[in-house]
């Protein structure tokens, strides 16, 4: 996966839902325990994603997946640890 996939597509959320991205984007949901990645973008911005960003999972931040249990994913960024469910994590694009 190349990092430029998102710079090419400065699409609004509506557009991204209409047409399928040319290259599949990697999301936080797909990361495995031990993976380290950087947050690129929120693909479906809403009230909840704003809260997630304010909790520290925001663009440019490096995250490490510490544990996965069921639909819950435990990630660490700087000194905070956040549990996020996979249906929220799938909207967080990472590289």
């Amino acid at each position: 996966m190349k990092s430029n996939s998102h710079t090419e597509q400065k699409a609004t959320p509506i557009d991204s839902r209409l047409k399928k991205p040319l290259r599949p984007k990697k999301t936080l949901k797909e990361l495995q325990v031990g993976d380290v990645a950087q947050i690129v973008e929120f693909s479906n911005p809403n009230d909840m994603s704003k809260k997630i960003e304010a909790m520290g999972l925001r663009r440019g931040k490096q995250v490490e997946v510490l544990q996965r249990l069921g639909r819950g994913i435990l990630v660490k960024t700087n000194n905070s640890r956040i549990v996020i469910t996979s249906d929220l994590a799938k909207n967080i694009e990472v590289k």
């Binding site: 700087n78 956040i82 469910t85 929220l88």
Partner: protein, 690 residues
Amino acid sequence: MTKSIKVAFAGNPNVGKTTLLNHIAGTNLSVGNWPGVTVEKREGYLNYKGYDIHFVDLPGIYTLEPLSADEWIACDFLVEEKPDVIVNVIETSNADRDLLLTTELLEFERPMVLAFNMTDEAAKRGIEVDAQHTTELLDIPVVKTNGRNGHGTQDLLDSIIAASEGHRVSKPVTYSERIEKSLGKIEEGSEDGKVEKHTLLKLLSESEVATEQRKELEEFYHGRIANIISDERYAYANGLHAEILKKRITSARDLTDKLDRVLLHPILGFLIFLFIMFLLFKVSFDFSTPLMNWAQNFITGFLAPVVASVLASFGARKWVLGFFSEAIVGGVGFVITFVPLIATIYLALAYLEMSGYMPRIAFLMDRFMHKLGLHGKGIIPLLLGFGCNVPAVMATRTLEYKKDKLLVMTMIPFMSCPARLVVFSFFAIIFFRHPATVIFSLYLLGIVIGLLTALFLKKTAFRGRLSHFVMELPPYRIPRVKTVMKIVWMQVKSFLTRAGTVIFAASVVVWVLLNTPPGLKNQSDSAAAYIGKAITPVFRPIGIKDWRISTSLIPAFLAREIVLSSMGTIYSAEMPQSNAKIEFWHALGSQIEDLGTAMKESVISLFSPSISSLQSENQNQDLRQVIRSSFTAASALSFMIFLLLYTSCLATVAVMAREAGNKFAIGFLGYSLVIAWLVAFVVYHVGSLV
């Protein structure tokens, strides 16, 4: 002349706002190591250097854009009530996150103090804040604090006064030129003259007066205005962070990571969770039983006869002595003997709350809960329910969606609280050979009924997709003994207060009814018996045929322990009065000796592998003998189940009404009565066959 200052404590969740306030104002507000302990605004007062300071502790927020009920409370207060000074508490180690809220608070352009808290933890991670430089940059007082030992609270108080006296507001937050220009135009157009940045940004993002500026910016930045503004805020917060915090590189893995590897391990973590729950149960029982036996013996075998003989020597009348031995010793005194149990269970729960393990249970259990269509984050209120249902219902405020909130609320009252445990521990010992197993099964039954209720509602009234969640896990912290002891003491105090007020009042009422009309020969002709007999037909099918028990159930709606105090009052009237003279000093000596033995037994029993102590029971035989005559094992079990499942606690019903409306609370109360009766009915009839 004294001057009053209204101070708001604002900050991200679990940064230690309440702990700091407890240090400063001497309050005893409850604290814990998990986000969401404070769900309502709470207050403290202090007179300091001639100032009347009124502190308001707010629920934690990540931004000023609230989603859940507790977040709304905090944001509304900051926007509407305009506190004189805002104290923004920041967890130093997480300053990069916390400074976003700081930026938003600075936009209010009000007197403000920054308190960098938990500086000791940050120092261990190689993080240090440059307070001097922060003050220079923002032109507001900046202090370093440590909530664990109270360091820096004096500085904080002085800074609050300085901020309010100097009316010093921070240097205005400045965003990029284009935005500032637009904001300038909006301000020019306003009739009020100077407008603070918070309002200007709000106008820019949603008001008609700013349509033109909004369009211009959205076109230039190719984005929505809300995102443009939040990007600006993040940029400002990041800039601030880079300026004021110094970080040395330290080894990345800390203790929390190491512990989590084990405690949150998919298999091991779950087994440890079960073990911790077992331990909690075991400690609560084994440690407290010898002490409870001692307390019972102390009250009935020492305190009561001593006071009675003193009363008699003053020539007290017969009814005074009767009132004393029945309503006071039999009712209130009886309930007080359960203090050791209450204290140990809260001790265990305090460690659970203070260590940081509790929110991890939510993460561990969501795996199973979500399969049932339930929310993992909802586990926290349920766990709190084992301590007391009232704060548990309040804790549902942290859930973002109303449906989840109501669903969790319908489960909480089935989580057995210590008040119920008190009743169970008394009955189970009389009727069953393995009381601990019976009590444990009752706890499980409560959980199962709670789950079934939620599942049923999920399939009917609260249909819909399972909601997602996001939740912060705090680092593990070793609870300070002093803090834990304070929590336990607060709980014991509230139990004793209840014993001295509502339980006492109920005992008096029951006693009076029991002796009405005056001069009765036979208790079963009293008003109390009349009332009890009137409702007995309702309870007969579940095995409760004795008026003395149905009468006890009525006042028990106020609080469950009252069932015991009422029974104690009723039955002690039937027991023969012991007129044995006791020799005061000798008896006191042997009481102290017994206490020593009991403490030793308590400690020793902790080291036995199973739950053992409840089984050797021989105290307070008289009352037990009498109660034994009114029940069979099956009817005792059905009685306990009825009391477990029916929301027999006025405080819980009241808090449910406040949080979810009268209809909901009354409806639930009705439902709990029906379900309690039905389950008790089945258990009684099946049990009678065995």
